[in-house]
């Protein structure tokens, strides 16, 4: 069993808007200079899904490879994949990969997957928190000609199939696909395990494998189907009117009265 997990390095999505900056020329969002990037949250969860599958196999029978395309990798951050239990970490680094062009990223990931000899299962996050596209895994599946199941909170390999529990907006759907397949993971799956100290120390000593666009034979072919013309931060602020009372319960009562008085809410007749 060979599982490839795609990881994207992103600016921490919990950075307050006031601490973000836009690099106008490169149409990029920058975090504060002293804060490290993170592995996209859903991708960590995809890694967790892979590690849970690996636990079902005997030692050496299931291999988990983490794969990332990007630029300016923070190795301490990316090596957390090793610490958590990935067998290999493959980084494709090139400034050209810092792009809005999903199709280019997808062609790069597909080429790398082929270079790695393919996979039985490709696990991805449901979306990356920088551009919120939720596109790459679906396009990757199309390009590789693989079935794709999305929004999994549980992923189970059963012989030649993968079974997932999908979280829909109104319930749960269980779906199955033939292997090899692409599966995207959602937050209900749970957090990536926190590795013990020993694993973290060992991970620090390990080296990622690197691949170049040239080796993979991938080039950006402009004009891209979608170009970013402009990027700006949104500061949605309202003047908050604080409701204060003699006690917190009193403030709650005053708040309700204010909303009723303003015609915003209406008490229902019992």
């Amino acid at each position: 069993m060979k599982i490839i997990v795609t990881l994207k390095q992103v600016v921490d999505p919990l950075t307050p808007v006031s601490a973000l900056k836009v690099d106008g020329a490169r149409r990029k969002i920058l975090g504060p200079p002293d804060t490290p990037p993170v592995i996209n949250g859903y991708d960590e969860q995809a890694l967790e899904a892979a590690l849970r599958i690996k636990e079902e196999w005997r030692d050496g029978e299931c291999q988990v490879i983490a794969l990332s395309a990007g630029t300016g990798f923070d190795l301490d951050v990316m090596k957390r994949a090793f610490a958590a239990g990935a067998d290999e970490l493959v980084l494709i680094e090139d400034t050209a990969l810092d792009t809005w062009d999903v199709s280019f990223i997808v062609r790069t990931l597909a080429a790398a997957i082929k270079q790695l000899g393919g996979a039985d299962l490709v696990l991805c996050g449901r979306q990356a928190s920088d551009w919120d596209n939720a596109q790459a895994p679906l396009m990757l599946a199309e390009l590789l000609g693989l079935p794709c199941l999305t929004l999994a909170r549980r992923v189970e390999v059963k012989g030649q199939h993968v079974q997932v529990e999908r979280v829909l907006s109104d319930g749960i759907q269980v779906m199955e696909a033939n292997l090899p397949a692409v599966v995207t993971v959602t937050s209900e799956l749970g957090e990536l395990r926190y590795p013990p100290m020993r694993a973290r120390l060992q991970a620090a000593k390990r080296r990622p494998r690197t691949m170049t666009l040239k080796e993979l034979g991938v080039t950006a072919t402009p004009p891209a189907a979608v170009e970013m013309l402009d990027l700006s931060l949104l500061q949605i602020e309202r003047d908050c009117q604080f409701v204060k009372g003699a006690s917190e319960a009193e403030a709650g009562r005053m708040l309700a009265e204010l909303l009723i008085g303003g015609g915003f809410i209406k008490p229902q007749q019992a």
Binding site: W131, Q173, E176, T186, L229, L233, I236, C240, G252, K266
Partner: protein, 320 residues
């Protein structure tokens, strides 16, 4: 390549209300684009396909098939791709639902089309389509140019006011076959469990949402009680959904539902951009949070700094 094709998603055989927002987006560019409007309705036991003619479409293609009665993306995608290949539309508009977003991405790869998800505004000039959309969890806005057709767009829920249905539609209904070969499909449905009560957050007038600050599933009972007293619907931020305190269908935000009620009351929610992007167009936002520095107070109209355990009983009493 010419004209506009709308994918009308159905649920239980009924076209989703998103359809009229898609029509509104289509009407914005229909004149300069030319080529007319067509609609694809896919589902099982479709009841109201003729309503789609009131969009002004020349043809409404109706594909009725038991396998299209669920958000099974492969079945829908294969069916819709065949139609797109036949009609060669210049612009394709899908609804911002889990199914719509997924078909959009895979179709973009199949048709080598430019795709923009979560579109707020749209403009056509000199043969190029320019759109704006939020990115980075709603912290920023990007202006994108879709360089060459075909174009695929997924309008943000609520960004385009629903279009007015025409009183005298002129178009025709065209029945189609799904042409799905079960053995050729690579994915299979095993089962589906739906929530018994259909809560419609997207169209609610008043919403009261709970966050991680509620500390567990039980306090949501109190939210339901309060909601009942003021005719509201209960929502949640992501942590209560991830922790299984409440159904994931209640999640508001970037990866949950986009809502725009008259009043949005957030209890024990810090106000992360990924949550606020789902409710920022509410007319009034009310925050109850014990931390005076919580970011939500910068986006709220009214706020109470305090422990919900004290504040909510007072609030509830005033509704009696």
């Amino acid at each position: 390549m010419s004209g506009i094709l709308i994918f009308a998603e159905t649920d239980d055989g009924t076209i989703l209300p998103n359809f009229w927002e898609q029509v509104s987006a289509a009407r914005q560019v229909a004149d300069p684009l030319g080529g007319g409007l067509r609609v694809a309705v896919q589902g099982s036991q479709i009841k109201d396909a003729s309503d789609a003619l009131k969009s002004g479409a020349e043809q409404v293609y109706v594909t009725n098939d038991a396998r299209l009665g669920e958000p099974w993306s492969e079945a829908h995608l294969e069916t819709f791709t065949a139609l797109c290949r036949e009609l060669q539309p210049e612009l394709i508009i899908l609804p911002r639902t889990l199914l719509g977003m997924e078909i959009a991405a895979r179709l973009a790869q199949r048709l080598d089309a430019g795709l923009a998800q979560d579109v707020m505004t749209m403009q056509l000039a000199e043969g190029k389509l320019t759109v704006t959309r939020p990115v980075f969890g709603g912290a920023a806005s990007a202006t994108l140019r879709l360089t060459r057709p075909p174009w695929i767009i997924v309008p943000r829920t609520g960004a385009f006011a629903p279009a007015e249905p025409l009183s005298t539609p002129k178009g025709e209904l065209v029945a189609r076959q799904a042409n799905l070969v079960d053995d050729a499909l690579k994915t299979r449905r095993i089962s589906r469990t739906r929530q018994t009560s259909k809560i419609n957050l997207e169209r609610a007038r008043v919403i009261i949402s709970g966050g991680r600050g509620l500390g567990g599933p039980e306090p949501f009972q109190l939210l339901h009680e309060i909601a009942e007293r003021m005719g509201a619907v209960v929502g949640a931020s992501r942590p209560p959904c991830d922790s299984g305190w409440v159904d994931s269908g209640m999640q508001v935000g970037l990866t949950g539902k986009t809502v725009s009620p008259e009043v949005y009351i957030a209890v024990g929610i810090s106000g992360a951009t990924q949550h606020m992007t789902g409710c920022s167009s509410s007319r009034v936002i009310v925050a109850i949070n014990q931390d005076p520095d919580a970011p939500i107070f910068r986006m709220a109209t009214y706020g109470v700094v305090g422990d919900w355990k004290q504040v909510l009983p007072g609030f509830c009493e005033a509704l009696a």
